[in-house]
Amino acid sequence: MNALLDVRGLNAWYGESHVLHGVDMQIREGETVTLLGRNGVGKTTTLRTIMGIIRQRKGTLRFNDQDMMPVPLHKTARHGLGFVPEERGIFASLSVIENLMLPPQIAKNGMTVDEIFELFPNLHERRNSPGTKLSGGEQQMLAIARILRTGVRMLLLDEPTEGLAPVIVQRIGDVLIRLKQRGITVLLVEQNFRFASRVADRFYLMDHGHIQSEFPVAQLGERMDELHKVLGV
């Protein structure tokens, strides 16, 4: 089966600084894959380069068998890729409902607003509040929900549990499991591998701008020494 996302030899630069050194990863439709690694190894850059936000890039990047390298940023989403940034990107001048309705719908199989409010009841209660008045956990829910409404095939999710209370992290884990049940493919950047092990099928371990190793969730126990060494935990 062909990979939905096929990345080979992906390099990226911030100006003169060479950040990604030949990233390779293949993700099949419906998989949840976690990209693990310490701060600064290039995890967020990998997501931003796949999404097309970082344009100084080289290599092969195919999504759904289409070459994504020449696709401009505003057309990437229409191919079915959705991005939730680490800082969540909730707009202060927009209410919760305006934030939710902002991204244009790209496919009909997205979640309806009713489904979203059923999954995230807090958002319904606070739908007319300014988006940035929500708690960190609620903002994360809103950031995920607004992408799910668009009908994306694959979600690039950058550290969704960063700075959140354990009970909220648990809730986000539940949401990711629901996404998996709906068949949505997820590439998750995470430092918390215990959280990731709840939702991921496979892991990529990243170091110094390239993929160091890849293993399924079943091998997590045997890989602890390597994880401790690379993650410094």
Binding site: M51, H74, T76, G89, L94, P103
Partner: protein, 294 residues
């Protein structure tokens, strides 16, 4: 005669009306500037010249095509707005991401060129533009005589300002604009064509200036220098309202116009400087402006 604070009521109301009319132009022009600055982060120094271009386009439409005031009021903002959009596509797009000084210098140069072209052909003195016959004359309100055209200017300005505010605050397009003002990269990643949005925004801001220019033509005459005479005051209005604040630009435009009018009644010596004094105080007390976000 009824007196208010030692001033005859008709004199006070007359100056209030003049203040309200000036405020109508301040609001329309500062609204365009605020929209452009909010999304493009560009200080559009050509805004005054684009206002002048609006007045001249109406004048040229009348003299060369026989197109009168009412069709010109619709056609001129479209023509000048498209001109603005072309300028944005050809030149301004190359300046995004650079120091804002480049945009300011480019638009300043553009303003000088536009003014220079019209001064070459029409000289510095104004060209008359007749008030449309349907708005000639005035209405006796009992306490004062209101020229119909000036009443229309206030109403038209209010309608366009409120309409623009509703467009930005209550529509999907406005939500894109507000979101792109905060984080244009993310809005693009959502699938919105932000480069087109920037072009439309600049075109809209320029069209508002051109609309104000057509409204101004029968009152102030059509002169190549009419833009540079008003633009500094309009920049002060935008700073007081808060750079990029739409509501701030509208409210401050009217309030400062009226304040200027009242100053003419109570302390005429300060009437030319009152707006700048207010700007200095606001900058000291609240640098982000009255409606701006800190």
């Amino acid at each position: 005669m009824t007196m208010v604070f030692g001033v005859p009521l008709p004199a006070l109301l007359g100056q209030l009306l003049i203040g309200l009319i000036n405020g109508s132009f301040y609001a329309l022009l500062s609204l365009g500037l605020a929209i452009i600055f909010g999304l493009l982060r560009m200080i559009n120094f050509a805004h005054g010249a684009q206002y002048m271009l609006g007045a001249f386009t109406a004048y040229l439409l009348l003299h060369f095509a026989g197109i009168g005031y009412w069709p010109a009021l619709i056609l001129t903002p479209i023509i000048v707005g498209v001109f603005g959009a072309v300028i944005e596509r050809l030149f301004l797009q190359r300046l995004y991401g650079l120091d804002p000084l480049y945009g300011l210098l480019f638009t300043f140069g553009l303003a000088l060129m536009l003014e220079g072209i019209f001064r070459y052909y029409y000289g510095a003195s104004g060209q008359p533009y007749a008030t449309p016959p349907s708005l000639a004359g005035g209405t006796n309100l009992g306490f004062m005589f209101l020229p119909n055209y000036r009443g229309w200017v206030v109403v038209a300005s209010l309608v366009v300002c409120i309409g623009t505010w509703l467009l930005i605050e209550k529509t999907k397009l406005g939500a894109y604009l507000r979101a792109a003002t905060e984080n244009s990269t993310l809005v693009q990643a959502f699938g919105v064509n932000v480069p087109i949005l920037l072009t439309l925004t600049y075109g809209l801001g320029v069209a508002l200036a051109a609309f104000a220019g057509v409204l101004a033509a029968p009152i102030y005459q059509v002169s190549p220098l009419m833009g540079s005479n008003i633009i500094i005051v309009v920049f002060a209005v935008v700073v007081v309202g808060g750079m990029g604040s739409i509501l701030g630009a509208i409210v401050t435009g009217y309030v400062l116009g009226i304040t200027e009018g009242l100053t003419k009644v109570f302390y005429p010596e300060a009437s030319n400087t009152v707006i700048f004094v207010i700007m200095a105080i606001v900058l000291l007390v609240r640098p982000a402006g009255l409606f701006g976000r800190e």
